[in-house]
Symmetry: C2
DNA sequence: TAGAAAAGGTCAATCAGATTGACCTAAAAT
DNA sequence: ATTTTAGGTCAATCTGATTGACCTTTTCTA
């Protein structure tokens, strides 16, 4: 695969995966969605780790996090190993929400993956071509 | 590959690819970078197509585009087929810039792709694991 | 054990980017 | 001849993000 295609893959795939989901429907900012995703993905995630992953300011993260807490989508507790650290967990509501979002995205991804047997090149070609056809017409 | 991993791939890969590049070094916004990339990728791209791809407002695009034009990174001209349409081209400077950015990103992608022989599953596992190791420690 | 460092939190001020809506031209389609 | 499409601009506004100062509590270390 030529280099150009590789980059296209990442840009357009990511774009499409996020375009499918209407975050305003759930009243989430894109950072909040990334937070929920990261909390769901990385066990016992701390505030520090979220800061590293999202790569945003402490203030931005805290505002977003406070909102999620107030809406009862996440809750926090001190880490056993180090009481300075705060671990963030999903509530049942939070888990339900992020899983619904992920499901929407996976429907799209799987439709492509399954038809190409997980071959990177084929998957990517298919993905970008269908995307570009849509744009070019 | 389990579903969860697939999503991780797209999120973390995209994140890493963009984290490598310091856009402020080039005085570009993330939308401007996407614009340069799209112009470089799609031949004879029009304003309308850029609007579709970036999925931003007309105003946002025009401000970004005007800036790129003033900095002599892109230029525009009417499409032959339809004079209403405006095609956006890279100048030599613009091409040099976006290719430099793409090179930085490809160094990262290729380091992973090459070591896994283009198998999607392996590549992705490798990519996300190295990312997570970094976060978890 | 005293003091430094790490993890987390908050406030106020500010800023950059983005949106919306109104309004415009020119070219193409009906 | 009229409507639509493609593009452009302005002013007003908004949201989200940043920065810097200043806290607390816990852990590390000289």
């Amino acid at each position: 695969m030529i280099d150009k295609k590789k980059l296209m893959v990442f840009y357009f795939a990511y774009q499409e995966i996020n375009r499918i989901v209407d975050l305003s429907k759930y009243n989430l900012t894109s950072n909040q969605q990334k937070m929920l995703f990261s909390i769901d993905t990385i066990d016992e995630i701390t505030i520090k780790q979220l800061l590293q992953i999202l790569d945003i300011s402490k203030q931005a993260l805290n505002v977003a996090c406070r909102d999620l807490r107030e809406r009862n989508l996440v809750y926090t507790g001190p880490a056993k190993s180090d009481k300075r650290k705060k671990v963030v967990y999903l509530t049942d509501d939070g888990r339900k929400l992020i899983e619904k979002i992920e499901e929407e995205q996976l429907n799209f991804i799987n439709a492509i993956c399954n038809s190409t047997n997980y071959n990177w090149e084929d998957t990517m070609k298919k993905l970008t071509n269908s995307y570009l056809d849509d744009i070019k017409k």
